[in-house]
Amino acid sequence: MTTQMFGAPVKRREDPRLVTGHGRYLDDLGHDALEAAFLRSPHAHARIVDIDVADAIDVEGVAGIYLHEDLTGAMAEPLPLLIPHPTLTHGRTTHALAKDEVNHVGEAIVMVVATNRYVAEDACQRIRVTYEHLPVVVGIEAARDGEHLVHEDVPGNVAAHMTQQVGDVDAALSSAPHTLTLDLDIERSASMPMEGKGVYARWDDERGELRMYSSTQTSTGVRAAVAARLGLPLAKVECIAPDVGGGFGVKIMHPWPEEVLVAWAARLLGQPVKWTEDRREHFVSSAHERGQLQQVTVGFDDDGRLLGLDVRLWHDNGAYTPYGIIVPIITSTQLLGPYKPGAYRVEFWSLYTNTVIVTPYRGAGRPQGVFAMERAMDAIADRLGLDRAEVRARNFILPEEMPYDHGLLFQDGRPLKYDSGDFPASLDKLKKLVGWDDFAAYRAAAEAEGRTVGLGIGCYVEGTGVGPYEGGHIQVETSGRVNVSTGLTSQGQGHETVFAQIVAQELGVRLEDVHVTTGDTRRMPYAVGTFASRAAVMSGNAIALAARNVRAKALRIAADALEVAVDDLEIADGTISVKGAPGTAMSLGTVSVLSNPLRYAFDEAAKAATQFAGTFDPDKPPVADDEEPGLEGKDFYSPTQATFANGMHAAIVETDPVTAEIRILRYCVVHDCGPMINPMIVEGQVHGGVAQGVGGALYERMDYDSSGQLLNASFMDFLMPYASEVPHVETDHLETPSPLNPLGIKGAGEAGCIPVSAVIASAIEDAEGFPISRMPISPNDLWELRRRHRAGELPSLNRSTHPAHEEPTP
């Protein structure tokens, strides 16, 4: 028997390369390429009156300077709106290079291509642009009041307005014994991978072909978009995602202006061209997420059961909407979490501001939705004097109610229908892990020492593995080497390892014989991309199906050669043998030889497949009518709907009575993504997600001033957590299988970050005794809230037993 590979915490195949400096990230390629730099708008909203490049042309080493007017055909058109939606009535996208107007600081206006980046930047500094300033819209309130417009032809700055409703919310709320309304606020953050974006393109003039590399989450998407812009047949463009230094959502957006421009310039100049984003560019010209204002009204009975839920969201989509309105759609559907809401209505407005565009960042609208729902759960418990976990439990969808259809449309345009999950069991595990029932005693002991502590909780459900499809291709070489390819890309999730585990398991080969390629359109041209915690579910299942095809073919060929029935054979460690007669066996490499009848004996293995090498039936063709040569197989996985993972987190925080410093003492996670292919990797995903969640809860915000300048556009000023800020994460797992896919798995990539802001808010609120409605929260913010609380501007929680903080003596 081949050792059990599915479920084993095997070490990663990619690591030896990466720890010895042999990774190949975008900027590690193309040392001799020309390099591009961009002149970007220093203003948030302005008309471009004039661009004077005269001084820049003379800079030695400049190969080309390009403005919008140099672009022709499709290159001059606005970039595509990737995900249209009927309610996105006023979708707007930018041009590759700004045409007449800029709508945020950082928008590209001029591209300079030169011998290297230093020279290209020198030239950028010599270009003079004259602007006519326009009124700037920053912040959701300013966008909502609509006094100034980002786009002249978009009234009220409203890109989209959407409502979904199940049941009669107004009736449910008016007849509910209790109602309450919360106004909530979440600020912007960003994916902020350690490697920024980057593009490297080479034009082959003789063949009229473009090869490009992009630090992207979708090489098939970039390929198609660039081919369309450049007017090239798809067959003449290939795109490869090399090693990618993190994505977290921002690199699923495409095509970025730089992706089309660098490819265009490489063809125009007939020379390789590269662009590597620097950190400031990443802050001001990539994408952000999270910013929302929310109003939540809930009606509930005396037991805390939801009767009606009415939610209004104002979502900041930045200056353009190239990625559609996926984020607010996810917020408005995934807000429901593990609960039955009673009647539900959600209405959102997606609003333009003169800031960087908003596209999905790990969690993709869920952290905001969970924040809204979990704040409401805590508020209900407080109103009724009930235990917060108990209120949640009373509203849970129960395992026997699965599959559970919410009656709403999810982000993929398909029903929001949960496939499986055992929420009561998850909550039990979490309560045990954090010591929920012992917390009162813990708090009493802490208070006796003059310390202030609080316990917080948050639950979520995450739709993972959305379609439309992914594919897997597997080929066994005559040496026994197994080549696996799938088209979606990798940014650190360990796909080379987990997909190899699946193949080792399904095909019966050794892990070290399996070699996985991702994100290379030459190897698998049909793919969607890596986002929405979909890679393991989509490509994992496609690869498993492909492996089953290859296995069946191998057994067919071996049964024929060994003159036994297929059912008498088994495969282990790459060898097919007759059950009970291990001496009668043949390696998969030999089967591969047999699968491909040859005329020429170019090596020893090939000799065995040549026409005079053995016995054959003269009445049959060398390759049967319903077979293809080669031991290989391909399959695609395309689900009818997403599969829903879930999790529950709890944290204990301590707040400093004097400095208002917030410290996370414990952070506990119960996570259910179905059976885990590699638990070590799942844990790693959870740790990383929690760290990003902690950043979003306590540190990270995009500090735009009223003129639209991003004041903290560097790692010095944007506070991304270091090891000193991230707590040790305690984890426990449930493995509730999905009935929807062959492997029964669910996605895990985004989970860790989803409920963190909700959990930390819940814990701080519990510690401080007054409501927390705005995240992230800094010590300054908490200090200010304490002041307002003392001044009577902020109510106490009902359950609050703690006295308001004394005015600290300075």
């Binding site: 010895t20 400096g21 230094g245 993190g246 790693g684 790692f715």
Partner: protein, 192 residues
């Protein structure tokens, strides 16, 4: 500092020789060439990564005469005559250093972009403090940013590396300056 935009269009070039991973390497570069770019693009040692270009993330950390330094904050000309160890100099896939091995055992990396900076930092740290406590291990890496791992497995890797070094009896010199120095030059390497 002269503003390059106000100068003539050609730059003065300087021949720089640096001992990198025990091999003397020479390249001709402008004065403003960053050490990180020199290593990556002139010497083509692309294991050293650049995450912020302003000294905050630590991805570009190399050892200069055995001490961690941010190569994005140094000019190549400043490194003239010094000995530099990059991640490529710590070990090979066939023969990894204890720190490299520990990171692979403990899932101390995901995308791997920040990793070279952690590996060099941790190598120097363990030279100083061969048997750290968990708190010391966490403190050792708190100047480096990682967006993927949440640091938990990096801290675990530091502790595991200490164990592995103990098992392998990795010798360490008392004075950091005596390690990774020019005296260990093995050959005159090709110039770029």
């Amino acid at each position: 500092m002269p503003d390059p935009t106000e100068q003539g269009t050609s730059e003065d070039l300087h021949e720089v020789t640096v001992v990198v991973n025990g091999v003397a390497r020479t390249a001709t570069v402008p004065a403003r060439r960053l050490l990180s770019d020199f290593l990556r693009h002139d010497l083509r040692l692309t294991g050293t990564h650049v995450g912020c270009e302003h000294g905050v993330c630590g991805a570009c950390t190399v050892l200069v005469d055995g001490e961690p330094a941010r190569s994005c904050l140094m000019f190549a000309v400043t490194a003239q005559g010094h000995a530099i160890t990059t991640v490529e100099g710590l070990g090979t896939e066939e023969s990894m250093s204890a720190v490299q091995q520990a990171f692979t055992e403990c899932h101390g990396l995901q995308c791997g972009f920040c990793t070279p900076g952690f590996l060099t930092t941790v190598t120097a740290f363990l030279d100083e403090n061969p048997s750290p406590t968990p708190d010391e291990a966490r403190d050792a890496v708190f100047g480096n940013l990682c967006r993927c791992t949440g640091y938990q497995n990096i801290v675990k890797s530091v502790l595991r590396a200490a164990e592995l070094r103990e098992e392998q009896q990795v010798p360490y010199a008392a004075e950091p300056a005596q390690r990774h120095t020019a005296s260990s030059v093995v050959a005159e390497g090709g110039s770029a």
